[in-house]
């Protein structure tokens, strides 16, 4: 089932990744393309990381991840991949990382990961429709808030810093 979910996610990623790359070019001290090739590329890496965590790691580790709700199961992989990405960025990329941008990625990536994890309910053999609806009532608004706030904070940080 992982490849099926992955294909679904990559279809959306084909649209989202170029946008993320181009948005990275906005703001900052350098030229548009210089910014895009650093900050934009990191945004691409962040989205790919969220997809890997939500569509691959969560299904593999499903029995061991805490929480009954699938969205909850996506939370820890989401945070772990974000911290790993931010660490990679600081060590290998040498890009400056402010507090607002750190918070932005800590909001955006787990929001995406929990959404993808939640979508795996369709592949499981033990989820119920009423349970999925119950889970979605609280998780979807949080995912939207996390993604929008993360994106907004990231874009703001590109202009403020």
């Amino acid at each position: 089932m992982i490849p099926v979910e992955l294909v679904q996610a990559l279809k959306c990623a084909a649209i989202v990744l170029p946008i993320a790359f181009l948005l990275g070019g906005l703001g900052g001290p350098g030229t548009f393309w210089a910014n895009a090739s650093t900050h934009g590329l990191f945004a691409v890496a962040a989205v790919i990381g969220a997809i890997i965590a939500g569509a691959i790691v969560v299904p593999i580790l499903l029995p061991w991840l805490p929480g009954r709700a699938f969205a909850m199961k996506g939370l820890i992989p989401g945070f772990v991949i974000t911290i790993a990405l931010l660490g990679w960025r600081m060590v290998d990329w040498g890009l400056p990382l402010g507090i607002s941008e750190t918070i932005a990625w800590l909001l955006f990536v787990p929001a995406l990961t929990t959404y993808l994890a939640m979508n795996f309910t369709g592949a499981s053999t033990y989820t119920s429709l009423s349970g999925v609806k119950k889970e979605m009532r609280w998780s979807v608004p949080l995912q939207i808030v996390g993604a929008v706030a993360g994106l907004g904070l990231w874009l703001a940080s590109r202009f403020i810093s």
Partner: protein
Amino acid sequence: MCWQFEYLKGGVTLELDEDKCTGCGTCPEVCPHAVLAKHNGKVRIQNRDSCMECGACSRNCPVGAVTVQAGVGCATAVINSALGRKNSSCCCVIETRQSGCETRSESGITCGAGCC
């Protein structure tokens, strides 16, 4: 190693009318998660949280003693339904499993993640 997967606690729509139940034992037989069990000639719900609302019990009960709002536990299907998508890659209608699965079997679409 074997895990007993259980989804969210509570909220399952499964109901059993013990007055109507004749104790024929069909529902425990068709239940994939051993939610229902027969005791002393009557059926009772022994593991409600394991119910995946597949609807097998209610469809096979000859006296209508078991009721459940059957459907597919699929977030994508819920989203597609909320967005009014009828012909998306997700083939299931979430309101009732009856119509959803009949559509699915007729179309021959296999379902997985991102589907239902």
